[in-house]
Each structure stands twice: as C-alpha cells, then as structure tokens.
Chain length 419, copies 2
Amino acid sequence: MARKNAFYAQSGGVTAVINASACGVLETAREHSDEIGKVYAGRNGIMGALTEDLIDTSAESGDAIAALKYTPGAAFGSCRYKLASFQEHRAQYERLIEVFRAHDIGYFFYNGGGDSQDTAYKVSQLGAELDYPIICVGIPKTVDNDLPITDSSPGFGSAAKYLATSVREAAFDLASMSRSSTKVFALEVMGRHAGWTTAACALAADHDGAAPHVLLLPEVTFNQKPFLTKVEQTLERYGHCVIAVSEGIKGPDGKFLSASGEDAFGHAQLGGAAPVLTNLINANLGCKCHWAVPDYLQRSARHLASKTDVEQAYAVGRVAVEFATAGKNAVMPAIRRLSDAPYQWDIVEAPLSEIANQEKLLPPDFITADGFGITEAARRYLAPLVVGEAYPAFKNGLPEYVKLQNAPAPKKLKREFAV
Amino acid sequence: MARKNAFYAQSGGVTAVINASACGVLETAREHSDEIGKVYAGRNGIMGALTEDLIDTSAESGDAIAALKYTPGAAFGSCRYKLASFQEHRAQYERLIEVFRAHDIGYFFYNGGGDSQDTAYKVSQLGAELDYPIICVGIPKTVDNDLPITDSSPGFGSAAKYLATSVREAAFDLASMSRSSTKVFALEVMGRHAGWTTAACALAADHDGAAPHVLLLPEVTFNQKPFLTKVEQTLERYGHCVIAVSEGIKGPDGKFLSASGEDAFGHAQLGGAAPVLTNLINANLGCKCHWAVPDYLQRSARHLASKTDVEQAYAVGRVAVEFATAGKNAVMPAIRRLSDAPYQWDIVEAPLSEIANQEKLLPPDFITADGFGITEAARRYLAPLVVGEAYPAFKNGLPEYVKLQNAPAPKKLKREFAV
C-alpha cells in the first residue's frame, strides 16, 4: 500500500492507561514513516471523524507523546457514540469516507471497549461495503475487563490495583474504629454487568479473615437474608465487615439494587448500591456503617497504575500499528496469557467480528459456592495484573500530567455533518 | 522523676499517618529508657485504659515499629469516647488512676483531634484534682486540620494530597467524556464544620480554568441560585465543571444539604451532599452528572501520603516524648510555620487548655469574594503541606502494611469497669 495517513481515536469510558496505548500508536507510527504519514487524532472519538474535527498529532513533541504514558483520561477526548448499521445510516459511512479521502487516511485505529470495537468492525467493512479500502485495527481498553478473546483488557489492571489498595487501606481504618463506632464499610465498584473489578477487591485479602469479607458480584443474584447472615457472622467473628459491592447487583426481581433505592426514596441518582446496602444493614443489624463510591477515581487513578497494565496498554498500541502496516484489517491485538506464575504473556491477533458487542462475565468457577467470594482460580488469574508500580512524575506534591496542544488540522471539506 | 512506664493511645477518626506519630513516640521512648520503662498502648484509645486492656509494645520488634511509619489506620485501635468532667463522673478518673498505678504509669500520651485533646487535658489534671501526678502530652492528629495553635495538623497534608490528586485525575476523565456524555463531576469531601480539606482540592488547579471550578465550603452558606449560575457559566466556558463539595454544607435554613436529601427522599444515610447537588444540577441544567464519595479512602490513602505530613506526624510523636521527659505536663507539640517558600517549620509547645474542644475554621481571607474558591493566601498556606512522596513498600502489587502482634499486657486488677 502506498504511504497513507492514519486516524486514531479513543472511545467510551476512559481509563488510567488508555493514553499509554495512544503513546504506543503514535511512537510506533513515527517509526513507520515509510508507510504511515501523519496520524490524525479524532477529537472525541468517531465524532471527530464525522465532524472533520481532526488533531494533527505531528505537531506534538516526542516528549509530550512520551508523557502520555503517565497521563490519565483520553488525551484527544472520548465519546459515547455508536455508529448505526450500513443499512440504517449509509450517509454516516459516506461522510466517513469523504473525510478519510480528504485527508488521505488509509489506516484507522479505534481504542475502546465492546461498543467501540463494534464501531471499529463497521469501519473495517468500508472496503467491502462501500469500496473504500481502509485498514482498521481495534485497540482494547476497558476497566470492566469484559472484552472477549483477550486474556485481560488494558485499564483493568490499574483499576484493580486502585480498588484492592483502597479496600486494604479502608479496612485498616474500619478495624481501628470498630470497637466504639463504625463496624461496616461498603465500597461501591464500577462494572454494571461484569464483576471483574469487584472480584479484584479480593486481592486485598492476604490472609484468612482479611478484608474484604463479602463480595457482591453482578453475576450473582442478591438475596437479603443470606447476605445479612453473612455480614452478621463476619461481625461476630472479626468485629467488623468490609464489603465490595458492584454497582450492578440485582435482586431476585431482576432490578438493580440501586434502583430499588430509587423506588423507595424518590430519585434515581441519589442511589448507588452501597448506600442502599448499608441502610439495609443498619436497619437490620443496628450497627453504624460507612460507604464509599469512588466513581471516576477508580478509572483515572494514574498515580497508582499497575506497571503490568501500563506495559500492556502500550504494547497493544504498538502492535496495532504493526498489524496495520502488515496489512491486517478487522483485527484487534489481544493479550494471550502463557503462564500465571511467573506471569508471561504475548500479543496475538483477534478478529473484530468476534469481539464487537460481546461481554465476558466472570466464569462460574471463579465464584465461591456461597456467591460472596472468589476462588483460588480467580485469584491466580487476577494476581499478576496488578503487579508493579509505574508512578508519574510529581511536581509540587501532585502528579504532573501532560496536556497536548491538540491543534486542529485545517478542514478540507465545506460540508458540515451533524452528529 | 523516677523511671515510670508510659501510656500511649490513638483516638478519634484515624489518618494515613497517625501511626507515624506512634512510631515517633515508641522509637523515642526506647531511646529514653532511663526515664521511660515500658510503653503500654491502650487498645482502642482511652477505652483501653479504662478496661485495663493494655498492649505491651515492648514485645514489638524495631522493624515492626519502624513499619508503622508506612501503615494507615490506628495500629492499636481508636475510639470515639469522651471522658465526662471530674464532677460528672469521678469514678472514671479513679479507675484511670487505679489502672495507671497498677502498671506504674507516669506518662500519658494521647494522639487525636479536638475531642481527644479534651481527654488529654482532663487526664493532665489528675495531679491537681485527684493527687495522682502524671505527665500528660497531647499529640495532634486530624484530617480536618481544625486544631488551633498548631499551623497544621498531621493527617491533613496526606488527605489534601489525596483529594487534590483525585480531583486532578477525575478532571482529566470528565474533560474526556464531556463532549457527548457527563459534563459535571462532584467530589464529596470530609470535614463537617471546617473547609480545609475541601479547600485543598483547589491545589489541583495549576492554571486558569483548571479543575476544580467550584468549591462548596462549609463556612459559606449554600444558595441554589448563585451556585447554579456559577455551574452554568463554567459549562459555557469550559464545557465541563468539577465541583468539590464539603459533606457539611448548609442551606440558608441552617440545615445540612445532605439532610435536605433526607427530608425529600426518605432516608438519612442515602444522602450525601454530592448526589443531592448533582440531582439539583441535572434537574435545572439538564446535563449528565457523576459524583464520588471517597469517605474513608481519603483519610487512609497511605499509598499517596505527603512526605511533609509523614515527617511532621513523626516529629510530633518524637517531641511529645521529649516534652514529657522534660517534665512538661498539659502541653501539645504544635507545628509552627517559619516561612511559606521555602517551607520551614519547627515544633513549639502549646497548652492543652487552649486546644481542647476548639475548632479552627477557614479564615475569611482564605475564601474568594463569591465564596466558590480560595485566595492566593490560602494557596500559599496549603501548597507546602502536600509536598513530597513517601511511598510504602509494595508486595505483589499492593502496599505492604504492618500488623502488630498487639499482645495484651497481663491484667493486674480484678475489678472490671464498664465503658
């Protein structure tokens, strides 16, 4: 293929390390200047392509690109925006082609989770569907760890490390207070459908009886009675109880627990599973409870990123470019685990068609029989993903993160396109 | 004074560095073995003294004591327990004397905030009131930073560093998402009466327009209209808005905002100021909001402690012992600031009588005219307190914290005492 420009964009909820993937893409593209000209970043994901809002990354210094490896968020902006099918919204694809042609774009890299890989897959079909040949490579990213085929998803290891660390630290706090004050602490974890992040909290427990004492996974139906019994037993035994609860747990009626707060108390956004849960405990067991909802903090805590995760995020960015220059379309670099301990991995190619819109849940053999914990198999899987520290630089006591210039590439099209 | 044993205990809400003070006390006491025999730690603060539940710290290795400098929570347990006055509950003081006499205790160190310094002050009067001579030294601690006389309180700098870092990181996340999804993020901060921790969030802003855009301090009455106008203006200007809100903000009616959630929606513990606030924004401005309540995480995040804070926490522990062996009763080591930049400080002695039950709020000249931010004077005050990193050791990807043996000292009294 003749030398072509590339498009790169970030999509969906961000992570502490998605910019490490951006760094991998941009640095590797610069090494392949024979095949790849400029890399245009889409401002706010695919929306940047549709609106011809492109960022000329060649204006960024090598140092700024390197600093992306240590910076959370999405350096070029992200989006929640799904492409309709070719049948439903052909004009959207014609617009993409118009923009790609105007900027001589022959490579398309899309960095995101399941929904975003759906976008990537659709773009990869532009050649077959609309006769615009393009090489499209998806790049995995999600704190939820729910992408199929890849052994783990970049972003997850850092969220896992943050959550397990937070559980361990909060447990030291709770144990200190429990004699005369708070006895229960519930941490609410992201991951509406898949329980990987909640399961990762269990890594905090390094000995029998250590926190967290109860996990509430979205894969397991929440039942009040056995739950309250479990909390009560834990309190009797250890004097305090730490709970990690997925935001997505559902009761036997199939409704989100946080939504049950909504029904009873009037407003959806007040809820959160953790406060509903601690209310329940307080009402039934009468002890003082605390709860935390770290929300964005758990997916942007670059100060506590997993070194393993940063390396994998960078690697999938790098390999994505290598796949592209090797002419591979409609694929995604996937992490393959070679061994648990010592942890060894490499990167293989996965077809986008098998990745898009799939959700990988916790397998049943990762969940203990009572539903409140994880098995040794789960622990073996999770343990290596949080290993290693990769601290950002600090200045005046706070982490120093890069802001790119993000200079817009001059528009070449007259026509606007509404998104 | 003849060689006497010492009592040390931790009290009130814990911090990431209260154990660094414990480390300072224990290491320094060991250096003063001519004057101080054993150090007995009270299990769960003053309750340990009343119930004769004493821990013999001489059983702990030097390495374990040193590791306290890197471990959050209260190594000997804390409590929320206030001594009544001599008049109200003389039996309580007689019991303390009984326990102190049985264990030959002549030094009393009490590590905590305003309420705890009240306990320390009362114990310091045992000589005058009940003819049991004891040297009592308070040791400052509180994430709220509301102790008087001392320039800052150990524990605050680390909470401040955690909060400012979290705001900066979450702001990168929010800015990434704001084009097509969430536009407002509210972080709820501890500190029911004093706004120091909320103010510290402003350290995240290193340039004009950087997050946080709005602070809601407990010292400033919350009014919906100017607040919504401020958020709207911020959204127009920057496309997103980050808010740091104290859990203790009150409306014009003098009621907690979180309690107004209680009235409207049915249950006290569901609330939290942040969800109430984001509901308000959503209802009035129609944009998607996220909120976080880090709760215990902000006061136990030892992984991100301020080196300055750790050093000061250790120093007040060390100096407390030096005060005691110099025969100084009813005092507390206080941090005195000598200069802002370069930051220089030393430790002076403060009378417990002037510390107990006092609350130091943000001074008016630290708050901007519109009430939504802090002044340069506040920034100059806050900036040095978060400087420096003091990472704990990590093992298998998680911070390695010490658990002491906490072997109970044999009881010498037959009589039990109910607390």
